[in-house]
């Protein structure tokens, strides 16, 4: 079993250079949330040459639309959403210095290439472990697009948020390696 690597945000090149697929990490610091609708707006702003509602350089975007915070809690359940829907937008954000994304499910070839080019990584958090992941979130504030409800951009302060490195800056892909290892070919199917 691999050791757990503790990392803090913002992420430097030196930190992401050390990360390899399969590494288990615990992230502390700031995560910005954005999913489908927020990404569309962010990319529109970039297209218009306008400033983004937060500085994404060296930051992490977490693909999540949390459930509402019950009284006394900073956030509701908050597991990752499926990442491929953000693949269309990710290379542009990575080119602006975004250092990592957190989600679930594999990324497109274009995103994997962009991560290699701009030295960024992709973490996966356990999809559906949303009540468990909420325990790592200590503070939450809305940064932009409150009208989008759960899809608004939020700033989360997290402590020891658990994730696994699925794509490193060297072009490796944990999804491909992992499935290859456990697939049973039709020939030896008993």
């Amino acid at each position: 079993m691999t050791n757990i690597i503790h990392i803090n945000t913002p992420l430097s090149d030196a930190v992401v250079e050390e990360l390899k697929i399969g590494d288990k990490v615990k992230i502390s610091g700031t995560l910005y949330t954005a999913r489908d609708a927020a990404h569309k707006r962010l990319v529109n702003l970039i297209d218009q040459g306008k400033e983004l509602p937060f500085d994404i350089k060296n930051q992490i975007i977490y693909y999540v639309g949390p459930s509402p915070a019950p009284p006394g809690k900073p956030i509701g359940s908050c597991g990752p959403t499926t990442s491929y829907r953000m693949d269309k937008y990710a290379p542009l954000l990575l080119s602006l210095g975004l250092k990592a994304t957190i989600g679930k499910g594999g990324r497109s070839g274009e995103v994997v290439e962009a991560m290699k080019k701009y030295k960024a990584v992709y973490f996966v958090a356990t999809g559906g472990a949303a009540a468990l992941l909420a325990q790592s979130v200590k503070k939450m504030e809305i940064v932009a697009y409150e009208d989008l409800g759960t899809e608004a951009i939020r700033k989360l302060e997290v402590e020891n948020f658990p994730a696994i490195v699925a794509n490193d800056i060297y072009g490796n892909d944990l999804y491909k390696d992992g499935i290859f290892q456990y697939a049973v070919s039709i020939q030896c199917n008993s």
Partner: protein
């Protein structure tokens, strides 16, 4: 003259509201049991750890009354309405939607429905529910609530095969659908398969098959055998929990079939994630 069974619309709303919260907070014992078995059988260390996280998540959700998953789903409601049941003080559809509205608000559940698929403005109360109503001979009103996640729904597929494609074509399509879905539907999944009927009915059958308790098989031995065969092939894909590689990709495969046209072989695959949230209540019985 048969005396009608009168059920108040407000009782329906209260029941639906309770089911919304119960389903989202309390993972069914059938699913927990299936996850336990998967955890025991899994050989991949990463997948094994993910499965134990999911079991831990279910405990936290139950204890803290927190949703198992932040995607608390589209509210899919199946109603079995007895022929002699009369709803008073409102109509069935409005009563169900009022229940969803209340349950999602009071349970701090996420509102995930947009009013129009293209302009995409959130309705902010998770309505309207998707409602399937069936009339039955029994003197009851049975309400089954399902919180259906978007990630797994997106990986579902339907095909109109030809009779010549047969069982082989069907197996190929189902396994291929799961293989292409990879990690996206949040494995370990439950695979619902609807065979026959018409284009629309096959999809409904696939969804209905998901309502059966996980771990139970189809009553028809031939269909039960097909479920087994599909489960074996799907688990040989190596996708594993969360798609990071492993032996358990699906907890179960449920198949339901129906007569169909001589020219057709409709096949629908409706995938549900491990956060399989289905709860039932029966009204009208003393």
């Amino acid at each position: 003259m048969v005396t009608p069974i009168r059920i108040n619309a407000s009782e329906i709303s209260e029941t639906v509201s309770r089911l919304c919260m119960d389903a989202n907070f309390n993972l069914g014992s059938d699913v927990i049991n299936a996850l336990d078995i998967a955890h025991e059988k899994e050989v991949s260390p990463i997948a094994k750890e993910i499965l134990s996280e999911l079991l831990e998540n279910a405990k936290i959700a139950r204890k803290n009354k927190m949703p198992l998953c932040q995607d608390t789903g589209v509210a899919v409601v199946f109603v079995e309405m007895g022929q002699n049941v009369e709803i008073i003080g409102g109509c069935l559809r409005d009563a169900i939607n009022a229940g969803v509205r209340k349950g999602y608000k009071e349970g701090f559940l996420r509102k995930s429905i947009v009013a129009d698929p293209l302009t995409r403005v959130n309705t902010n109360d998770n309505t309207p529910a998707i409602i399937h109503t069936e009339f039955v001979p029994e003197n009851h009103l049975k309400i089954t609530f399902m919180a259906k996640g978007g990630g797994c729904e997106n990986m579902s597929k339907i095909v109109m095969l030809t009779p010549a494609d047969g069982k082989e074509g069907l197996i190929h399509f189902v396994v291929e659908t799961v293989a292409r879905a990879m990690a996206n539907p949040c494995p370990p999944i439950i695979v619902g398969v609807g065979i026959g009927g018409t284009f629309d009915y096959a999809a409904l059958l696939a969804k209905k098959s998901l309502l059966r308790p996980v771990g139970t098989e189809n009553k028809n031995p031939g269909t039960a055998q097909l479920e087994k065969e599909l489960l074996g092939k799907i688990n040989n894909l190596g996708i594993g929990a969360q798609g990071l590689g492993g032996r358990i990709t699906a907890l179960a495969v449920h198949v339901e079939s129906h007569p169909c046209h001589i020219a057709s072989l409709p096949v629908a695959v409706n995938i549900d994630c491990h956060s399989h949230r289905v709860k039932t209540a029966i009204l009208g019985t003393e």
